[in-house]
Symmetry: C2
Subunit: 367 residues, 2 copies
Amino acid sequence: MCPLGSGESVTSSVVDAQAIDLRVVQRQVDGVLEDFLSEKARAATGRGHPPEVVQSVRDFLAAGGKRIRALLCVVGWHAAGGQGDAASAVRVAASLELFVAFALIHDDIMDDSASRRGRPAVHRVMRAQLGGGERAERLGAGGALLVGNLALTWAQELLHTARLEPGRQRLVHGLYDAMLEEVMYGQYLDVMGTGRGADDIEAALRIIRYKTATATIERPLQLGAAVAGAGEAVMDTFTRLGLPLGEAFQLRDDLLDVFGSPDGACAPGLSDLREGKRTVLLALGLGLADPVQRERLGHLVGRAALEEREAAEVRDILQVTGAREQTERMIASRYEHVLRVLDQAGFPQAADRALRGLAAKATQYTS
Amino acid sequence: MCPLGSGESVTSSVVDAQAIDLRVVQRQVDGVLEDFLSEKARAATGRGHPPEVVQSVRDFLAAGGKRIRALLCVVGWHAAGGQGDAASAVRVAASLELFVAFALIHDDIMDDSASRRGRPAVHRVMRAQLGGGERAERLGAGGALLVGNLALTWAQELLHTARLEPGRQRLVHGLYDAMLEEVMYGQYLDVMGTGRGADDIEAALRIIRYKTATATIERPLQLGAAVAGAGEAVMDTFTRLGLPLGEAFQLRDDLLDVFGSPDGACAPGLSDLREGKRTVLLALGLGLADPVQRERLGHLVGRAALEEREAAEVRDILQVTGAREQTERMIASRYEHVLRVLDQAGFPQAADRALRGLAAKATQYTS
């Protein structure tokens, strides 16, 4: 996924538009992560633990990522009327980024993805360090699995040390546990669903719902709001925002992976096509294709050795069938939906502007 | 490991010896797990989640396990002077059993173990359901990895809903997070250590320290004590108990896997020998062997297709070299150490008796 893959920040274009300086928020979140992992590195040295575990997590975080969940968490705190010191919200936000690291490291093991965020995937790095071969493949996957597990454990530790107000702890923990469960079921559906028909638009959307809508948008916003002691109304608004914004966000990612970004900041890629990822874009293409085009898509998509020339043919089919345009329309309608929800939400102006800026950045990808 | 593999309970022989009825405790823990997972099954049905995920965790728990950690947790609560309703301690104890399920399911994926607790390992079950072959192998491992992750998430949910007294929550969470980190580092050392010399007794003991002493004995006892609001003294006593009892427990498991139990309740196995598990028993054998015996051990141990006849030869070498007897002596000295620590601890009589009973059961394996 190019946006997550790139180190490019979502904050640049929205910071001037409102009073919550998202660049500052991102620095605060990254600061918490750096301090926490530095302490973990010191502790590992002291106990004779292998240093490469902490280093793998640090490298993963340093490789980029838009910190979208962390930013939404802190903005959710502001939207719910959070006042004064945002330290607890920032710590929960940092926890979310370690949770994402865990989820992506495990995803890459299961898909045996070669790269992530423009660098070799963690299990591939470990495999290479072990010198390659069958044993290195097994140990690399095992080592990366445990690095992922430690990232999740540390995410929980950040959550447990966020100094939440006792009355709000239960709701925050409940939301966090719900998020983890939803993401894991989503990954399960994703992994086990590879036998599913590639033209199943509903199935593709259901995976987005679990993996992106809830985990990337709704829960981070709600977690920040819960830290601020938000009531039902704010939580419901974030639930209504989660699905359209999450779907638009993912549909944009799918388009970017295949076609790159209009401004060329993100180049067209081969990963989704080679992996045969069951995207809405592909499902639409198969649905709109004539028999010949459909046969070509079936023949090309999912080929591990797909060449650029063949990828260009796939892009051409997704273009001429109208699948690309249809996906753009789906994004636009969901973005409009997001704006309508925000119009009715009546959030504090700074939070409202920050949310609109993040929504535009995440779905329109105009840089 | 036969003891964990057998459904046999540790409670049978100690229940008459003291006033804490461990059979009742085990039923309470299993009841919490059953209610919790039944609710998860209902929720999965309601949300259209695949039912086999919850079922895999249920089957894993139903297959047996001694619930040693859960029992130690509740006994730790009593030892720390826990009074009245033990519901919070029992819920934390149940959480520990889901954590164990997570750890063992992931262990089996990394080792590609064929069986666990006398049944096929979770990833093997899923692989078989997928019809076998390369794709089924990949998806089976991925599915089991996610089942393990959900077991860990649910362990955290049980912890988060244990209704701990606010003042004690921080300590309980801190101990729990420390336990997870220690276990994962231990697994990491274990997985990455397969290149290590099989005669490295120190290395074998270090893995026991992380994987068994802390996670199986010390932390469960301390978690129960923390729920009861224990002070430093009790925590220190459990730290002093953890290492000798954990080592004795693991050394007994290693002997049982290779030689079975004296009373025949547990048959000699092939799993550790075929896997080439780096046990203290094997390290002692290699250290005490003459060049010919050493060559035979190196030739036979770790052979996936090791036959019973060959296993008998290995057992004979471990016997005649004195490695088996030496391991028994290590267990005995550690058990004596445990009793001395308990003599000085001054725990309430019921807790003291329960701890002595559990220590005897876990290390002497007299049934």
